[in-house]
């Protein structure tokens, strides 16, 4: 529970910090708008020439894009401001101070900063999911709950993948590109997994589980989810989280600081 108290302090502190740089506000707002706009343009380009993508109708595809936006916001608000700094901690030796604190170092590196200005993306995303749910007639407490659980599982999986990718900074200091790696696969999450050829589907389900991150929560929202995928999503989230923790512990155990 000490961790929850700390989380609150970190969040308050981040908001204070962010308020100092109010210029960010406008830029973040514009980039939210652009991301939203470009996503809709792509959907528009597709549906002005076709009636479905991989068997998904327009409202379903919009709900999926909403889920995608929620995760983009999650990455921008939580993951990037924290894990994105890890390579610098290692390069400059600041990592030493993280390890000295009487806290889980993984927690401290993961949840210290929040870029709240990207949070509106998540609200837009939720609105798009809501629109998709209404249009497909799936707006009901049960499906909302299921979608929320699947979103949470997806968030845990996303965090774990990011954490593992950035942990490689302990060995490869020039790791900024590693985050690009995740993005390369993540962009596939704008589209239903069924729109890809089988072999790509296998990669996006079992190797880089993008399917569980975006397609599964969107399926839950529009009433297309089957139980194997739902349970698979929970299992993958738990498995990846454990893996990321073990990897982190191993990396820290092998950490020899910047000067040595």
């Amino acid at each position: 529970m000490r961790y929850f108290a700390l989380l609150r302090i970190f969040m308050a502190n981040s908001i204070q910090l962010e308020l100092e740089y109010r210029a960010n506000l406008l830029i973040d707002f514009v980039s939210s708008l652009l991301g939203f706009g470009s996503g809709l343009v792509v959907i528009y380009a597709m549906f002005s020439h076709a009636t479905s993508i991989g068997g998904w109708s327009l409202p379903e595809a919009i709900a999926l894009f909403g889920v995608f936006m929620i995760f983009e916001a999650f990455i921008e608000v939580f993951l990037y401001p924290n894990l994105g700094k890890l390579p610098d901690y290692v390069r400059t030796g600041n990592m030493d101070f993280m390890l000295l604190k009487p806290l889980s170092s993984q927690f401290l590196v993961s949840f210290r900063y929040f870029n709240i200005w990207r949070a509106p993306d998540a609200i837009v995303g939720v609105a798009l999911v809501g629109y998709g749910m209404i249009e497909t007639g799936g707006l009901a407490p049960a499906s909302i709950l299921l979608a929320a659980v699947m979103l949470l599982a997806g968030a845990v999986t996303t965090y774990a993948i990011w954490c593992m990718l950035t942990t490689t900074a302990f060995w490869w200091v020039r790791v900024s590109n590693v985050m690009e790696l995740f993005n390369a696969f993540f962009v596939a999450g704008r589209f239903p997994i069924t729109a890809f050829p089988t072999w790509v589907r296998v990669i996006l389900t079992f190797i880089v589980p993008i399917a569980f991150i975006t397609t599964v929560p969107a399926s839950a929202a529009v009433g297309r989810l089957d139980w194997p995928m739902a349970l698979g999503s929970l299992a993958i989230a738990a498995g990846f989280l454990l893996l990321s923790h073990l990897f982190w512990r191993w990396a820290v155990a092998n950490y020899t600081s910047a000067s040595s």
Partner: protein
């Protein structure tokens, strides 16, 4: 005259060998670039799937395959990451040590990007050849246009690099340069045609996009290689590339000169 030329050539050689040595240290990055550049391939799968039961907006599945494989090539040859290191060096004052060297830092970044391009070169042909073989899209390429295609890639690189370099120099005034880069990238991907061929949009939108630099950074070279453009359109495209290159080289020099004054004034 001859002496300065020799000096320049020696500088260039030193610059390249130093940069190359630095890159060979980071071989793992080459693998990462390879995977990070796959967005055009993802879009290829999606559009090929949409066109599986008949052409979409005049593009059959095989047309999409050819289009996005070419987009992949153009993107691989015009990757540009100059904004981040440049703005960081300006912000943290690391630019000072660069200024001590007998060469505009611009050329060091150019060398950096060209060497990276060389390192990236080996990964492009296998991906493209396998893609062309699997999709049968080879017949859609007009091989005679290859020299013009390569020239248009050079033009695309020049626009992109100078545009980004100018953006990086904005760091003399604000620490937001990298956020602007994100905005620029989104517009570039849509207007450039990396997500879908611009031809799928209504004609009015196409005309507006054709005025921006972005359509000459991806879509124009690709359309040349697909043999979609008339001679007049090719000529006009190269004209626009030249125009935008000059615009961005001009703004870069202007920004650099004014920024440098500011830099020394801050005393960083």
């Amino acid at each position: 005259m001859k002496a300065t030329l020799i000096r320049r050539l020696r500088l260039a050689r030193v610059l390249f060998s130093v940069t190359l040595a630095a890159f060979i240290e980071y071989r793992a990055e080459v693998l990462i670039w390879m995977i990070a550049g796959t967005l055009p391939l993802i879009m290829m799968f999606i559009w090929m799937g949409l066109a599986a039961n008949g052409p979409v907006g005049g593009y059959a599945a095989v047309d999409f395959a050819a289009y996005f494989l070419l987009v992949f090539i153009v993107r691989q040859f015009t990757v540009c990451w100059v904004v981040q290191p440049l703005s960081r060096e300006i912000r943290l004052g690391e630019m000072s040590s660069r200024l001590m060297r007998p060469l505009d830092p611009y050329w060091m970044y150019v060398a950096d990007h060209l060497v990276a391009l060389l390192m990236r070169l080996p990964i492009v042909p296998p991906v493209v050849l396998i893609g062309l073989a699997l999709t049968g899209a080879f017949v859609k390429l007009s091989i005679a246009a290859l020299p013009l295609f390569l020239l248009a890639i050079v033009g695309a690189w020049l626009i992109r690099f100078n545009m980004h370099y100018t953006l990086g120099l904005v760091a003399f005034w604000t620490d937001q340069a990298t956020s602007f880069e994100g905005l620029l990238f989104t517009i570039y991907m849509v207007f450039g045609g990396a997500l879908f061929p611009i031809n799928l949009l209504p004609p009015a939108a196409q005309e507006i996009i054709a005025l921006t630099p972005f359509s000459y950074m991806i879509g124009f070279p690709v359309d040349i290689m697909l043999g979609k453009l008339s001679d007049a359109e090719v000529l006009r495209g190269f004209g626009m590339q030249a125009l935008w290159t000059l615009v961005f080289i001009g703004t870069r020099q202007l920004t650099w000169r004014h920024g440098l004054k500011r830099y020394s004034a801050v005393g960083a």
